[in-house]
């Protein structure tokens, strides 16, 4: 019990001192996971739309892969990205190993299947005739996608939360490809890992609190937007329409590591 108490006191002291290291680690975490999420949004929405609307040979295989990807061991992803970016590896020329770029790639690879899966599921849940109707209104293919994405904006927000959550809470892959280098590639999860291994439970706990607070505030922001959308809709219960946002969010929470 003493250990917990001491750790808490240490942690609060650290936070109160407004330590520059803690500050830059937090910013780096936000930057790496934010960029990774944006990349996986672009890739995931595109891939999700193809999976939802196109029938092609091997579609089932890709869907299976995406569903596996939603629960894929990050360590394996870290290993593959590390091999690719290794100095003697196929992309070694880039000299990206042990940089934040490598971490962004790893986190994007982790978050993309999550967003792909959510996008494909929510678009596929729309009435297929809605797509015909939108085409009939005069939409080009891109305009069709834009209009239908607005129809599933609630589940897409859930996808965004799940993707960001998967990225920022991930540790194995980030450390493997980023190296956990102080001042360069150390993010919150990596720092927690390090402090804990040194027996510095106070700082570790402080960083853990920051990570939690960060995730909670980001999710609170998105949830606030979601509820705002829903209130504006003043939607009467609509069974069989877009999947309920609350369900999707908790599904997203389950996916987080």
């Amino acid at each position: 019990m003493d250990l917990v108490w001491e750790a808490l006191k240490d942690g609060v002291r650290l936070l109160a001192h407004n330590d520059e290291d803690v500050y830059s680690i937090t910013i780096r975490s936000l930057y790496v996971s934010g960029v990774a999420t944006v990349i996986s949004l672009v890739l995931g929405i595109g891939a999700g739309a193809v999976l939802a609307f196109r029938r092609f040979p091997g579609r089932l295989a890709v869907l299976t892969l995406v569903n596996t990807g939603m629960g894929f061991p990050p360590v394996v992803i870290g290993l593959v990205v590390a091999i690719l970016l290794w100095r003697s590896g196929p992309l070694g020329e880039l000299h990206w190993i042990y940089t934040t770029r490598a971490m962004i790639i790893a986190q994007a690879v982790i978050a993309t299947p999550v967003i792909t899966g959510f996008t494909a599921a929510s678009l596929a849940s729309l009435d297929p005739r809605l797509r015909l109707q939108v085409y009939a209104l005069g939409a080009s293919r891109l305009q069709m996608l834009w209009l239908l994405l607005q129809e599933v904006r609630l589940p897409l927000l859930a996808a965004l939360m799940a993707g960001f959550g998967a990225a920022i809470s991930e540790v194995g892959a980030s450390v493997m490809v980023g190296g956990n280098i102080a001042g360069q590639t150390r993010v919150l999860t990596g720092a927690i890992l390090l402090e804990q291994s040194r027996g510095n439970f106070g700082p570790a706990l402080a960083l853990g609190i920051i990570l939690l607070a960060l995730m909670i505030s980001v999710n609170a922001l998105f949830t606030w937007v979601q509820i705002g959308v829903r209130d504006r809709q003043r939607a009467e219960a609509s069974p069989g329409r877009a999947p309920d946002a609350a369900t999707m969010t908790s599904a997203g929470a389950l996916l987080r590591r």
């Binding site: 009435d127 005739r129 809605l130 015909l132 109707q133 939108v134 085409y135 009939a136 209104l137 005069g138 939409a139 080009s140 305009q143 209009l147 607005q150 129809e151 809709q233 003043r234 939607a235 009467e236 609509s238 877009a242």
Partner: protein, 366 residues
């Protein structure tokens, strides 16, 4: 008149099966063509072809006489489609009506003017700020129609737009649609399984069975003079009996069917024909009762089955062949009919429609 929209040798397949086979179909400028057919006849497939929302396996769709292939997007922006479901987007009614116009690069002021005008025209202006989920089925379908008309399309394609609505809602909406069509003279194709809608709205009616147009023409011709037995059965002819012509003269034919002599007014020249009778053209009377009027055909018959509906009675009879009569509930009760009872069925010579047999029945095309 010239063809606004045509199909030439269009074939659509699902797997190995051809679900639509249209050697030639023309929709004339300004007309309303109603396509009727049973479920699964290929009606929606036909509409999706004309709407350029699906590509045919073979053949082509012509717009203003020129192939549509390669310019589908531009042409879709000159047409509008209303489906059986309203298929509104999750945004306000006003924005729903304006979305298609935005896609067609119609300016903001014009968009608002047209949206307001057509929402008012279909009696849903008061719902402009509502979202689709807060609308009833009838209201939503009115919005869907307003959205289509606000596009001021050259061609309007309607896929069973009323079949999901209850009867009173449907009746009101059909009248509003008829008025809007009469005012705009928009070239229209209406696909429906409902004969009354087709007869009310169609300048011409086409009968689609098994993916083929079996007959096309004025509503009176299609409903009164079906081209073959299947069309006859679909348009409501319930008695179809093979008969032989035994005498002819003065436009009047005498035929023999199951031992009865029948008289028919017809120009048919074949030696054998199918006698077609609509149930509402057959009257019943008590045996021995004097039959007033000009019914030339009187057959003794036995009642085999009675089905009562709201105002009518449908009576199936056996008079050597199966004959179906639809009479009012009142005359049914006056006659005191029971299953197994003897009665006399009568119908005019002009009520008989003959389909020649032996000559290949071919769809009449215009």
């Amino acid at each position: 008149m010239s063809a606004k929209l045509s199909a030439r040798d269009v074939v659509v397949r699902r797997g190995a099966r051809a679900v639509l086979d249209l050697p030639a179909l023309d929709v004339e400028s300004g007309e309303t063509l109603a396509i009727i057919g049973p479920n699964g006849a290929g009606k929606t497939t036909l509409l999706l072809q004309l709407a350029l929302l699906e590509r045919p396996a073979e053949g082509e769709v012509l717009y203003d006489g020129a192939p549509a292939r390669g310019r589908e997007l531009a042409l879709r922006r000159r047409m509008a489609v209303v489906f059986q479901q309203p298929l509104l987007l999750d945004r306000t009614v006003r924005k729903n009506v304006e979305t298609g116009m935005s896609l067609r690069r119609i300016g903001g002021g014009e968009r608002r003017r047209r949206a307001e005008a057509w929402l008012a025209r279909f009696d849903v202006a008061h719902l402009a700020d509502r979202r689709p989920l807060a609308l009833s089925g009838g209201e939503a379908q009115r919005v869907s129609l307003a959205r289509a008309f606000a596009l001021e399309p050259e061609v309007l394609l309607l896929d069973e737009p009323f079949s999901a609505l209850d009867a009173p809602t449907r009746a009101g909406l059909i009248e509003d649609l008829a008025a809007a069509l009469a005012d705009t003279r928009t070239t229209t194709v209406l696909v429906t399984h409902d004969h009354d809608e087709a007869a009310r709205l169609g300048d011409r009616v086409g009968v689609l069975i098994g993916g083929r147009i079996r007959q096309i023409g004025r509503p009176a011709d299609v409903f009164g003079e079906p081209a073959d037995a299947e069309v006859a059965a679909f348009v409501g002819v319930e008695t179809i009996v093979p008969a032989e012509v035994i005498a002819r003269g003065d436009g009047m034919l005498t035929l023999s069917a199951a031992g009865h002599q029948l008289e028919a007014v017809s120009a048919v020249t074949a030696a054998r024909a199918l006698v077609c009778l609509r149930p509402e053209d057959v009257s019943l009377s008590a045996p021995g009762e004097r039959i007033s009027g000009s019914a030339r055909n009187k057959l003794p018959a036995r009642v085999t089955r009675i089905t009562l509906t709201g105002a009518d009675a449908r009576v199936e009879l056996d008079c050597g062949f199966r004959l179906v009569a639809r009479i009012t509930r009142r005359s049914f009760e006056d006659l005191g009919l029971r299953e197994g009872a003897e009665t006399v069925a009568s119908f005019k010579a002009t009520a008989v429609h003959l389909i020649p047999v032996g000559v290949s029945a071919r769809a009449e095309t215009h």
